[in-house]
Symmetry: C2
Subunit: 377 residues, 2 copies
């Protein structure tokens, strides 16, 4: 089924611009993940080389059959917007300047022009962050966007922000990150008054480095943004990241990125240790067979593919950055995350917390039609 | 057996000053751990309240029997040096100034006066670091000491430095930390030319924050200290900490402390996830019983008690900082680590790498007699 009509009639639904050329397994894994998301009801615009993308779309399993038990109105549209250039995974932030027509840049421009609500990319984090900052306006009161990730704590996830957007922030930016993280936790984790902790190296306010000591004062002080107070619980440490002591943990992008990757590395290390231990003797091997399903369940809870990726918050459209090694499942999760944030009007909620300028942003809630060919999967 | 003679005759052996009042389980766990180390041949001077310590020493299991199959000459001495004050676990760095006669300060003074070779404390890291910096001279070429920990990688550990001594170091200090870490890895891990990595948030030299970008230039540049080159392999990330990609990983004390505690927290989280998974169904429980020994082996490799603690390097005597929650076994490990570093002349080796002033330090290798009563366990 190929339609050329715009998605304007899909009231309440959202359109996500997906950078089809970013990621280790692009564009194949991206197109497959996007097709699954479209089949589940999200409209997607893939940005990249049109010929390549259209032939990949045509080869998707669901392309020639109607969407599961639903008419074409239930499935989202799967369309293509042309971008001849792309940012390679090993290119840094400078590529964002060198490549104004990259697939990531075109995806951001679709949001800027009101043709999509949010962006998904599995490209290099540094490249996407700079591209997004070049293409998307910051929300009022936001000096720098922050990258938020969900840590897999129980019973609900913990938001870590900033996980790598700004390596050398000023202390004031950590206060903004706290507000961004709170808006995100309220929407995505359903927590009404998220508890905010500051990641540092000791529990007393005087502990930490220059940035965190000043950030502590700001977080503990009276709210500078209108009358929206923070539920600040004080300093937390690295050992608290997965201990469910706070709903939002604020840090600079350097420390946050090191901490996030340390969690990933340690989880992989622990799994490898366990694997070695469980293959070292016959009784252990037998035990492993019996415990396999349980171990898989534990593994799934640590599995970043299920979590949809990091959300760059504070710009006029949310940008979800999926892991570079994302498989189709991870891309689908990232698109669903972006759609949920758009449906929940996250940018408007951030505006309400931080901004004073209001009244014009309702124009941006409904995307304009985009002049591209479209497909339903 | 109680002896009052000094240990001068124990050629080649070392004396370790142990802060008996620092730690969550002080002084009981400290005295028990020290007694075991002394029985194994290390001479120990415990600093703290003499009456309390002497009665604890008298209650140790080995106190009234000769050391295992060896004469009194094989067992180390266990003595007491009086310190009426101590730094509480919840006191910060300022306590080091307020309490000049704390058990930690007295332990450092024993090294300063040549009566012990190294210090062990399970007190608060911030308190011990500042106390040591007040009491012990820096080695030539060392602006600030760095805290080194051994990460449990296979087949040999990885040195992380700085794990929390200096929260806001200058980039030049990271270069010094690299040399301190290399000397430590050579001695403690037996690696002749340790590979040095810089902890940051991307592999290219341009990635990172202001401190790491400048530190990268210094580490990659010509050696500033005589002609001792570094085997610098470039940037590493949080996910590399347990991946055995470098023998020494250099970072600032803020990031290093967050990373270390993130490793601890993630290992605990993974263990809890596994525990839940393995008690959730009957087959899983059966599997757990069969796999129990293997799981215990994996757990032991992650167990910080076996690793002896963090070593504060770059002062005229090494200070080993054990975990605040140390049990007797962890204290014994810490004392053995301090003894091994003293026997291997770590401070002299650091002097050789960094210093230009030589010739007087041999005086400090043999400790002077200390005027305290002594015990063999």
């Amino acid at each position: 089924v190929t339609r050329d009509t715009p998605p304007g009639g899909d009231s309440g639904d959202v359109t996500i611009a997906v950078d089809a050329m970013g990621g280790d397994h692009a564009p194949d894994a991206i197109v497959a993940g996007a097709a699954a998301a479209a089949e589940a009801g999200v409209s997607v615009i893939l940005t990249g080389r049109p010929g390549q993308l259209r032939s990949l779309i045509a080869s998707q399993p669901g392309h020639h059959r109607p969407a599961n038990g639903a008419g074409p109105g239930r499935a989202g549209l799967l369309r293509v917007a042309a971008a001849e250039d792309s940012i390679a995974m090993d290119e840094g932030a400078l590529a964002s300047w060198r490549r104004p027509r990259s697939s990531a840049a075109v995806a951001c421009s679709l949001v800027r022009r009101g043709q999509a609500h949010a962006v998904v990319s599995a490209g290099s984090t540094a490249g996407i962050v700079v591209t997004a900052r070049l293409r998307l306006r910051p929300l009022p009161g936001v000096a720098r966007p922050g990258l938020a990730v969900l840590l897999p704590t129980q019973p609900r996830p913990t938001v870590l922000i900033d996980a790598g957007a700004i390596a050398d922030p000023k202390p004031e930016m950590l206060l903004t990150f706290a507000h961004l993280g709170v808006a995100y936790a309220q929407l995505e984790c359903g927590i009404s008054e998220p508890a905010v902790g500051l990641l540092t190296i000791g529990s007393e306010p005087s502990k930490g480095n220059r940035v965190t000591r000043r950030a502590h004062e700001l977080l503990a002080g009276p709210p500078p943004h209108g009358n929206v107070p923070l539920n600040f619980i004080g300093n937390v440490e690295g050992s608290d990241l997965l201990a469910s002591v706070a709903d939002v943990i604020v840090t600079d992008g350097f420390t946050g990125n090191v901490a996030l990757k340390t969690i990933e590395g340690t989880a992989a290390f622990a799994a490898a240790q366990l694997q070695t231990a469980l293959t070292s003797s016959a009784p252990a091997r037998a035990g492993r067979v019996l415990a396999r399903r349980a171990l898989r369940a534990a593994d799934a809870r640590m599995d970043s593919d299920s979590y949809g990726g990091a959300a760059l918050l504070g710009l006029e459209g949310t940008v979800v950055i999926a892991h570079g090694a994302s498989n189709p499942k991870a891309i689908t999760s990232a698109i669903h995350l972006a759609a949920a944030l758009a449906r929940g009007h996250l940018t408007d909620k951030i505006r309400d917390r931080l901004g004073s300028t209001r009244g014009t942003h309702f124009l941006r809630r409904t995307p304009h039609p985009t002049p591209t060919t479209s497909h339903t999967p």
